[in-house]
Symmetry: C2
Subunit: 206 residues, 2 copies
């Protein structure tokens, strides 16, 4: 399944389709046209049809799309039929917040938190144990990790990234305000909170 040809613009719209269709299922809506979906989601009907047709034919002329089928198709395109194993580096407020967020319902399962603070090590957060970061490599040699979540202070973020990459993490979800350097086969998704705030500041003045 090589999907390298799909543009990031399309990929980043997939979660919004997923969310919107989930809402429609909850509301009992069974069928939807690209025009109706357009009004709810804010993308043009044309773009919606183009987006879907990157992955196959999910609709029916004269009818539209079956909401459940489309939702299920998009879940599979995103890869939500699989479970992903996460570890969180840094058991501060942010690390704890992420464990409590409820991602496991979507198949993102946090297996462990890591910290270097002896007061935190051994603590259980939402059913997940805080382990000593000294045993990170030992842990990772025994447990596969799909996504390593970095919530450490910025000054140690790169060295933690190096360690999880060497130990086999396939991707990094980075919350530290730094652009990590990683091998090209490792995927990095950044949440640059400071950048978001600066964007807001700019827009407030324009």
């Amino acid at each position: 399944m090589n999907k390298g040809s799909i543009s990031m613009a399309v990929i980043r719209r997939l979660p919004k389709y997923h969310r919107c269709l989930s809402d429609m299922i909850d509301k009992g809506i069974e069928r939807i046209s690209s025009k109706e979906l357009s009004e709810t989601i804010g993308f043009s009907a044309s773009q919606i049809r183009q987006d879907f047709n990157n992955f196959g034919k999910f609709g029916q002329q004269g009818y539209g799309y079956n909401v459940e089928d489309l939702h299920s198709a998009i879940s599979n395109i995103i890869g939500l039929q699989h479970t992903y194993r996460l570890i969180v580096l840094g058991a501060g407020n942010l690390g704890e917040a992420l464990v409590n967020f409820g991602f496991e319902k979507l198949g993102f399962q946090v297996d462990a938190l890591f910290d270097n603070n002896t007061e935190k090590i051994g603590k259980i957060v939402h059913g997940v144990e805080v382990l000593d970061v000294n045993i990170l490599e030992t842990y990772m040699s025994k447990h596969p990790v799909d996504i390593a979540v970095i919530t450490t202070p910025v000054k140690v973020a790169q060295q933690i990234a190096d360690r999880v990459v060497i130990s086999g993490a396939r991707s990094i979800w980075n919350f530290a305000p730094v652009d990590l350097v990683v091998p090209e086969d490792v995927i990095v998704e950044n949440v640059h909170l400071v950048d978001n705030l600066m964007t807001l500041a700019y827009l407030l003045n324009s």
Copy 2:
């Protein structure tokens, strides 16, 4: 200062320029060409010059850019010469994490947290008091709020958004997994964590 003509693509690169130039100042680098900056930041030299020239002429032919001057110019373009007043709605782990993040160094000052949990109300988090969300309107009638940060559960996010908008918040930094409906003069910046995770999932399978 109407900057409505600048594309969002450019605006969202500004914080990265800011961060990169801050790093260069820390390293004692005094001057930089668009070509050198390109190698560090990963944007093309051509794009860098195009981006800057949206706002004015900051370089010198044959020389390049003075790092301190450029950094200071970009700070002003973003609007970092001002202080922004924030309130955080929801004093859970995420709300606390945001208060502790250190945004105040950049001029983003959290004045209060709000929650409806009586166990949390009155608590002081990193010097910021947790107030009863029942007094939100009273508080906002006395204190201007530039950015209302929503870290509440998704089911109350829209109603909290409505309340802060009516009380005069100019913008919302939203962490709840919902697309808020607000008047068009209110700016919303979303941090859709679930969307980020789904993007990672997609990329892990492609």
